[in-house]
C-alpha cells in the first residue's frame, strides 16, 4: 500500500500543445480543417480569377460574377430551382409529419410496418429512386402504359417542375418523418396531461399542444430537405434535361462536364453563389436549434406519450399510408429491379417472355462495372470506418477538451453541409491541381475517399456529437481527478460509452458513401470508378438495363451491410 503516496505533482509550464493531448488535439484539428476547407478555398479563388486556376497568368476579377448574373439562363435556373425546392420541401414536410403523427402517436393499424417502410428511401440513392419513377411513371413507363391501355391519357407528367418536386419529396420524406417522430416520442406527456386536466378534448390537445411542439422538428428538417433539393443532381438531369427545364445543378453540369472547354470561372462563381445561399440556410437552421428551450420537450422521466385513438379511421388511415408507400416508394423500386431482370419492361409483353439475366452478365463481364462495384465497397467499408474515427476524435476535441479552438471546430464542421456534392468534387479536384504533390491521387480511390469523408463529416459528426453531449461531463471530470490524463480518459471512459453512437455513425456513413453519385462526378478517372457515378453515366447514355442491374446489386449490398451491422452490434452491446 501507499506505493504512490509520494508522487509529487511535477511543476510544469502550461504548454498545452506540447503535452500528448495537445499534439493529438492539434492533429485532429488540422486534418478536419484541411478536409473542410480543401474544396471551398480553391472554388472561391477560381470564382475570382480571370482564367482557369492552374493557368500561369491570373488576375483577380469580378467578371465571372458579372457574366453569371447577366446570363438569363442562370436567372431562370435559379427561379426553377427555388420553385422546385420549395414545392418539394412543402410536400416532403407534409407527408413526413402526417406519417410521423400516425405512426408515433396514434393506434393506426399496421403502424409498425408502415413506419419501417417510410424510411427506406434513406438507404437508397436518389438516382435509383429517380430512375425507378422514370421506369414506372415516365411517358413510356410501365404504369403509364397500363393507364393508357385501360383508362385513358395520363394526367401527370414528371417532366414538369411539379412532377420533379413530387419525386424529390418522396426521397426526402424520411428526413421529415424521422425528425418529427423523434420529437413526438420524446415530448413530455405531462404537457398533454395538464392540457387534459384543464378540460381540452383530445383533438384540441392535438391541435393546440402536440402540433405546435412539432414546429422546430419540421423547420429544422425542412431546411435540411430544402438544401438537399437545391443540390439534387439526378432529378434535374433525368427529368429536367429532356424537358429543357434547367435547374442550378444541371446549369453547372451542362457548362462543366458535358462540354469540351468548360467555363471554369462561370461554374465556380455559380457554385460559390449556391454555397452562400445554402450557408445562409444552414446558419438559420443553427440559430433555430440554438434556442430550443422554447420548445423543450424532453421530460426528466422516461414516460411514453399516450396514443390518440383513431376509432373508425384506424384502417382507412393505414390504407392511405399503404397506398402512398406502394405507389410512390415500392412500385418505383420494383420497376428498377424488374427492369434489371428484363430485356424490356412494358405491359404490352408479358414479363415471363422477356426475363433475362443478360443485364447482370453485362455488369459482371465489363471490367469497368466490376471495378466500380469493388471500389464502392472498399471506399464505403474503409472510408466509412476512417471517417467514423475522425468524427469521433473531432467530437472529443470539440466537446471534451480544453483545446482552445474547440468551439470553432464544432461550428466549422457544419460547413460541408453547405457545399453540394458535385461542387465539393470540383473543389477537391482543384486541390489536386494546385498542390502538385497531391497529383498522384487523381487516378486513385483515395481522392474519392477524401471527398466523401469531407462531404459527410457533418452527417457522421452529428450522430457522435449528440451522443457525446448526453454523456455526463462529470464522468470525465472524475477520471481526470483520479489521475487519468485526457487521452486515457477518452480511451477508457468516453469512447466505450460512445461505441453505440459510433456504430450508427458508421452505418450512416457507409450508406451515404455507398449511394453517393454526385460527389464523384468530377473525380472519377479510369481505375477509380464508383457505382453511383457509373450508374449516372449509364442511365444518361440510355443503358438502362445494366444500370438497373447495378442498382439492384447496390440495393442488395446496402441491405446486407445494414442488417449485418445491426446483428453484429446488437450482439456486442450490453448493459
Amino acid at each position: 500500500m501507499g506505493a504512490n503516496r509520494a508522487s509529487s505533482p511535477a511543476m510544469q509550464a502550461n504548454r498545452w500543445w506540447w503535452r500528448p493531448e495537445g499534439a493529438i488535439q492539434s492533429a485532429v484539428a488540422l486534418v478536419v480543417v484541411f478536409l473542410i476547407l480543401a474544396p471551398v478555398v480553391p472554388l472561391l479563388m477560381q470564382s475570382f480569377s480571370a482564367n482557369a486556376l492552374y493557368a500561369a497568368d491570373n488576375t483577380a476579377t469580378l467578371a465571372n460574377f458579372h457574366k453569371l448574373l447577366t446570363d438569363p439562363a442562370f436567372g431562370s435556373a435559379l427561379v426553377n430551382s427555388l420553385l422546385f425546392a420549395v414545392g418539394g420541401t412543402v410536400l416532403a414536410q407534409a407527408i413526413g409529419a402526417v406519417a410521423a403523427v400516425l405512426v408515433g402517436r396514434t393506434d393506426m393499424a399496421l403502424r409498425g410496418m408502415i413506419g419501417t417502410i417510410v424510411i427506406w428511401p434513406v438507404f437508397i440513392s436518389h438516382l435509383v429512386i429517380t430512375t425507378g419513377w422514370s421506369i414506372v411513371y415516365g411517358p413510356a413507363g410501365y404504369f403509364t402504359m397500363l393507364w393508357k391501355q385501360h383508362i385513358g391519357t395520363e394526367f401527370w407528367s414528371l417532366y414538369t417542375i411539379a412532377g420533379m418536386a413530387l419525386v424529390a419529396a418522396v426521397t426526402q420524406v424520411p428526413i421529415a418523418f424521422l425528425y418529427c417522430l423523434g420529437s413526438l416520442r420524446s415530448s413530455d406527456p405531462t404537457l398533454e396531461d395538464s392540457a387534459r386536466a384543464a378540460g381540452l378534448r383530445p383533438m384540441q390537445i392535438f391541435r393546440r399542444i402536440t402540433l405546435p411542439l412539432l414546429r422546430p422538428a419540421l423547420l429544422v428538417s425542412g431546411i435540411l430537405n430544402f438544401v438537399m433539393m437545391l443540390e439534387a443532381v439526378s432529378i434535374p438531369l433525368v427529368f429536367g434535361r429532356p424537358a429543357k427545364i434547367e435547374l442550378l445543378m444541371s446549369y453547372i453540369y451542362e457548362r462543366s462536364i458535358s462540354v469540351g472547354t468548360p467555363d471554369y470561372g462561370l461554374v465556380a462563381s455559380a457554385a460559390t453563389l449556391l454555397v452562400i445561399l445554402v450557408l445562409v440556410l444552414v446558419i438559420v437552421q443553427r440559430s433555430i436549434l440554438k434556442n430550443p428551450q422554447r420548445f423543450v420537450t424532453i421530460g426528466g422521466k422516461a414516460q411514453r406519450p399516450r396514443q390518440f385513438a383513431l376509432g373508425r379511421w384506424k384502417w382507412p388511415a393505414a390504407a392511405i399510408m399503404c397506398a402512398y408507400l406502394l405507389l410512390f416508394v415500392l412500385l418505383p423500386l420494383a420497376g428498377v429491379v424488374g427492369y434489371a431482370f428484363a430485356k424490356i419492361l412494358t405491359p404490352l409483353v408479358p414479363l415471363s417472355k422477356v426475363m433475362t439475366l443478360a443485364n447482370f452478365e453485362t455488369v459482371f463481364t465489363t471490367a469497368t462495372y466490376r471495378r466500380a462495384i469493388f471500389n464502392s465497397v472498399v471506399i464505403s467499408v474503409v472510408g466509412g470506418a476512417i471517417t467514423t474515427v475522425i468524427v469521433t476524435l473531432l467530437a472529443l476535441v470539440a466537446h471534451r477538451s480544453k483545446f482552445r479552438f474547440g468551439r470553432e471546430l464544432d461550428i466549422i464542421s457544419l460547413l460541408p453541409r453547405a457545399v453540394p456534392g458535385m461542387i465539393a468534387g470540383i473543389g477537391i479536384f482543384y486541390v489536386t491541381v494546385l498542390i502538385t504533390p497531391l497529383g498522384w491521387m487523381r487516378q486513385t480511390i483515395f481522392l474519392l475517399m477524401i471527398a466523401f469523408a469531407m462531404r459527410y463529416i457533418p452527417l457522421g459528426y452529428g450522430a457522435v456529437a449528440t451522443a457525446i453531449m448526453k454523456i455526463d461531463p462529470q464522468l470525465d471530470r472524475s477520471a481526470r481527478a483520479i489521475g487519468a490524463d485526457w487521452w486515457f480518459t477518452a480511451r477508457r471512459v468516453v469512447i466505450p460509452l460512445l461505441l453505440p453512437a459510433m456504430m450508427s455513425s458508421y452505418a450512416l456513413l457507409f450508406v451515404y458513401f455507398f449511394k453517393d453519385y454526385s460527389t464523384g462526378v468530377f473525380l472519377v478517372a479510369p481505375g477509380s470508378e464508383v457505382m453511383g457515378t457509373t450508374m449516372l453515366q449509364m442511365f444518361l447514355s440510355g443503358q438502362t438495363g445494366p444500370a438497373a442491374a447495378m442498382a439492384t446489386i447496390q440495393l442488395v449490398l446496402t441491405m446486407v451491410f445494414v442488417v449485418g451491422l445491426r446483428r453484429l452490434t446488437g450482439v456486442s452491446m450490453h448493459g
Partner: protein
C-alpha cells in the same frame, strides 16, 4: 495527507467574477466545509483546487508545493495533483463494474494486478461495499453508488479529499446516517477534506471549520460554533441557522431604539446615531412569564403560527417589523412579551 493554502485566488469568466480574492488555509487532516447558496463560488473553488479549472489570479499551494500560479500561468494538470474528488452525481463509469471502477485509478498508477485486486477489496470493505464487485453502477442504490465513488477516490490515497455535495443525492432518511458514517471515516483516515455544500446542517454537523461564501467572496471562516454564535455579517447569521432582522438606531453605548419605538440592550461598538440592523435567532427568543426577568423584553402581537410537533414557530409583529420566535409552549395567542439575552443580539451596521 497535506495542508492547503489558497492565496487570494480569483476566477473571472469574461467580465463576471465567479470568485474574488479568496484566502483560505486548511490544515493537515482538517475537515473544512465551503458553505453558501448556489452561485456563491464554492464549486468554482473546488474545481480550482482540483485543477479542473485554473484561477485567473492568485496561487494555490498543496502540501507546500505551488500547483497553480496565475501570475506565471503555470498550472499542474488535475491528473498530476494526486487529489481525490467525489462529485454530486458520483460519476461512476456506467460501462465498468464496481471493481473496475475502483481499480482504474490503481491501473493508471501501474499498481500490479494482484495488489490492485487486494486494495480494491480492502477499500470496498472500508466503505461496506464488499461483495458488490461485479455489479454495474445502475444496479446500485444512490447511497451505495456514493460509497463506491468514495472507495474509488480513497483507494489511491489522495493527499486531499474534495467532496462536491456528495450527500445531496442520498435519500433524506439515509442522509443523516451517511453523514455520521462519512465523518467517522474521515476521522479514521485523517485525510484533509474540503466539503462543498449548501446545506447548513450538514456543514455544522461534519466540519472542523466552515467557510461561508457569498457572491464569489469568503464572508467568514471559523468553527461551526463561532459561525453560529458569532456571525460577522447579516448574511452569515441568516444562512447558518436563521435570523430575524430588526432595523433600529444606536441611542447610547449598549442601547438601541428599534424602529417603532421599542428600546433594547445589545453590545455594539458603533457610535450613537448609527443606523443598525439587529439579528436575532428565533430559537434565542422565548416568551417571558410574569415574574421572570430578561435582558430585554418586548411586546409582540402573534399573527400566525407553524405547528412543528414538539414546538411552534410563531410569526409576530413588533411594532411594524416582523419577528419569528420558537417556543415549546404550543398555544400562545395575541399580545405576548418576548425576551432575549443581550449576548444573542448581533448588531450590524445598516446597508452593510
Amino acid at each position: 495527507m497535506a495542508d492547503l493554502n489558497l492565496i487570494s485566488i480569483s476566477r473571472k469568466y469574461g467580465g463576471f467574477n465567479a470568485l474574488k480574492d479568496l484566502d483560505l488555509t486548511v490544515r493537515d487532516g482538517e475537515f473544512v466545509s465551503l458553505l453558501g447558496p448556489s452561485g456563491c463560488g464554492k464549486s468554482t473553488t473546488l474545481a480550482l483546487i482540483a485543477g479542473l479549472d485554473n484561477p485567473t489570479a492568485g496561487q494555490i499551494e498543496i502540501d507546500g508545493k505551488i500547483v497553480a500560479d496565475a501570475s506565471t500561468r503555470r498550472f499542474v494538470p488535475a491528473e498530476q495533483r494526486n487529489l481525490g474528488l467525489v462529485l454530486q452525481s458520483y460519476a461512476l463509469w456506467p460501462h465498468m463494474t464496481v471493481a473496475q471502477n475502483v481499480g482504474l485509478p490503481l491501473e493508471i498508477r501501474n499498481v500490479p494486478k494482484a495488489e490492485r485486486k487486494a486494495r480494491t477489496q480492502e477499500y470496498l470493505g472500508l466503505v461496506e461495499m464488499g461483495g458488490f464487485e461485479d455489479r454495474y453502477p445502475h444496479e446500485l442504490s444512490g447511497g451505495q453508488q456514493q460509497r463506491v465513488a468514495l472507495a474509488r477516490t480513497l483507494v489511491y490515497e489522495p493527499i486531499l479529499l474534495l467532496l462536491d455535495e456528495p450527500l445531496s443525492n442520498v435519500d433524506a432518511k439515509l442522509r443523516e446516517r451517511a453523514r455520521m458514517w462519512l465523518k467517522a471515516l474521515q476521522r479514521r483516515l485523517k485525510v484533509t477534506t474540503i466539503f462543498v455544500t449548501h446545506d447548513q446542517s450538514e456543514a455544522l454537523a461534519l466540519s472542523d471549520r466552515i467557510a461561508v461564501m457569498s457572491g464569489g467572496r469568503l464572508v467568514q471562516a471559523g468553527t461551526p460554533l463561532e459561525i453560529y454564535r458569532n456571525p460577522k455579517a447579516p448574511f452569515v447569521a441568516d444562512f447558518v441557522g436563521s435570523a430575524n432582522f430588526l432595523k433600529g438606531r444606536v441611542e447610547a453605548p449598549g442601547k438601541i431604539i428599534l424602529h417603532g419605538g421599542a428600546s433594547i440592550r445589545a453590545s455594539t461598538a458603533l457610535p450613537p446615531g448609527s443606523e443598525v440592523v439587529v439579528a436575532l435567532r428565533p430559537e434565542d427568543l422565548s416568551p417571558v412569564r410574569p415574574g421572570e426577568s430578561s435582558d430585554n423584553a418586548v411586546s409582540v402581537k402573534i399573527v400566525a403560527k407553524d405547528f412543528l410537533g414538539p414546538r411552534c414557530i410563531y410569526h409576530a409583529r413588533l411594532c411594524d417589523q416582523d419577528l419569528r420566535f420558537e417556543s415549546t409552549e404550543l398555544s400562545l395567542e395575541g399580545q405576548v412579551a418576548v425576551g432575549f439575552s443581550k449576548d444573542v443580539a448581533f448588531v450590524f451596521e445598516a446597508n452593510q
